[in-house]
Subunit: 332 residues, 2 copies
């Protein structure tokens, strides 16, 4: 089965995407063509510099091929797997449009390694004949500067198919097993699950609460705890996410709220992605972390005044970030 | 009645306080002792530099006396009126404690020129034998730098007594009339009202909504309109303030929400006080603008999930501001 290398396109070569590329390449059974944007020139000249808890220190590392765009990557296709490790920003850009030229119907499997809930639907709509594998990453990794990555918490990727009636379930499970096997034999860990959406809801309990409130207040997770925000905001939001999950058929463990609060001790002073984004003036993943759970709640008839208010505030902040970006682009 | 000058202590000599001092002094019937903090040295050396829509250009202007503290001001007492134009920050400092040494029971009238609702109660509690006059200022004035003031919208002060059963209503009305007469004869405008609390609720419709949301999102009032925030957040918050006001016995005009939205056209791009505060790292008046209406709602049994969530977020931001202030003070 592994006699020929699996041909893989990777879109999004930040910290998470790059560590996925490392694992896949190190399996010896995959050739990765990575599409890079802001760090293309640095990586073309010097490769990645990686300090990894799983793989040790790598200097001058690069995947089989790098490209500046999906179009430029096409010459290395066709691709069996198309791995998406871009930020999920449906209010800013359409990833299905971006990857469309590289998707071969029935042949290309799309692997999503992204935050949030409900992220798969645009891909199902755009590529009804492709298997969609959905992944929730538990990695701790950051790009310190362009092409320089610190990977300090082991790469554990939870993965499962989003089953699609037009494709045989057996084939979907096989593709998930193949991808998982590549990933894991490369020195990271890819755990198969039959209910990846459950896993997404579980992770969302932390993300929709702490990530949002940190972004709105400029505080890290430990400061939110110190300032008394857990009881006043975090727990009510967690309760609501828990109840939306349940209403949508995903019953989370009893006491999930406290488990999630305890999962990130205050001493860690964790700075979640949306806080980092707002401070750097980058768009935040508000639609997949807050907007989609809200829309799901609405379809299910759940009242969500608090979550909606947080969402509407975040949308105004996003508007400010986008306006500043547009302004600075116009000035160039 | 105006044969001898009224002796007035003024606490808080920012833009609003200074313009009050100008009006009172220019009446020729009042001697103002102003307590200055950050701008004391500049004003002691060069006086105020004022560009005023009501009073023209004043250079080297100062009130009768200036002092660094209430204690230092005492030698110019006793004071018939004690005018408070400090920011209302009950979570940071107690103004009743600050002015206590200067308050002569039955003799000193306290005049509050401050934002928010429910601000009078701490003064009623601390000084049950003093007349309390409560003022809502409609001035447009800013301190551009220490001691330099631009006053660009006429000074209209709405004023009325907070009637107190232990003092004769006649005396309270007389004192209000006297203060109003001093203020108005000095070239500004002080309009007497029997229901100053109604006026406070009216102003709060704008303040609790726009001021809060601007502070949380970093947008000015015009940008909130451009970004679509009026329908998603501003109007629901205005509706709630309107209904709390009504529940507390203060029926505001029909359509007050739209009147308030229209009162500040988007072209003005107004930057309300809490936005200016958060950007400068100064504490915001969240307790009197959001906290007090919430507490009043709670006493009246009104549900306020949205307003509460805004309040809890603002409290976390306030915590961050205070922590930064403490940190920078410790570093000195």
């Amino acid at each position: 089965m592994f006699d020929t290398r699996a041909n893989i396109l990777l879109c999004g070569c930040g910290a998470v995407g790059t560590m996925a590329a490392v694992a896949l390449e190190r399996s010896g059974c995959a050739a990765v063509t990575a599409v890079l944007r802001s760090n293309f020139s640095v990586v073309e000249q010097k490769g990645f510099t990686i300090d990894s808890v799983d793989h040790g220190r790598l200097t001058g590392w690069h995947p089989s091929y790098i490209a500046r765009s999906v179009e430029n990557a096409m010459k290395h296709g066709p691709f069996q797997f198309i791995v998406i490790a871009l930020k999920a920003l449906p209010d800013i850009y359409s990833i299905p449009e971006l990857i469309a030229p590289a998707v071969t119907p029935f042949e290309s499997t799309i692997v999503l390694i992204q935050n949030g809930i409900g992220i798969e639907q645009p891909f199902i709509n755009a590529f009804p004949r492709s298997t969609i594998l959905s992944g929730v990453s538990m990695i701790g990794a950051h790009q310190l500067s362009s092409g320089v990555i610190r990977h300090d918490r082991s790469d554990i990727l939870h993965l499962g198919p989003i089953y699609n009636a037009s494709i045989s379930r057996e084939k979907e499970d096989e593709l998930a097993a193949l991808f998982s096997s590549l990933y894991t034999s490369g020195g990271a860990s890819c755990l198969l699950t039959e209910n990846i959406t459950w896993m997404r809801w579980k992770k969302l309990v932390w993300n929709a609460s702490f990530n949002s409130v940190c972004a709105m207040t400029g505080l890290d997770s430990g400061a939110i705890i110190d300032a008394g925000g857990v009881e006043t905001i975090i727990r009510p939001v967690m309760d609501k996410i828990n109840s939306i999950a349940k209403a949508s058929g995903h019953t989370l463990p009893d006491g999930i709220q406290q488990l999630m609060i305890d999962s990130m001790p205050r001493e860690m002073h964790f700075r979640p992605s949306m806080l980092v984004d707002v401070e750097r003036g980058n768009p935040m993943e508000i639609e997949v972390i807050v907007g989609n759970p809200l829309r799901i709640a609405q379809e299910l008839g759940c009242e969500t005044p608090i979550l909606r208010m947080i969402y509407e505030h975040l949308k105004l902040v996003q508007w400010r970030i986008r306006r500043a970006k547009t302004g600075s682009r116009l000035q160039k």
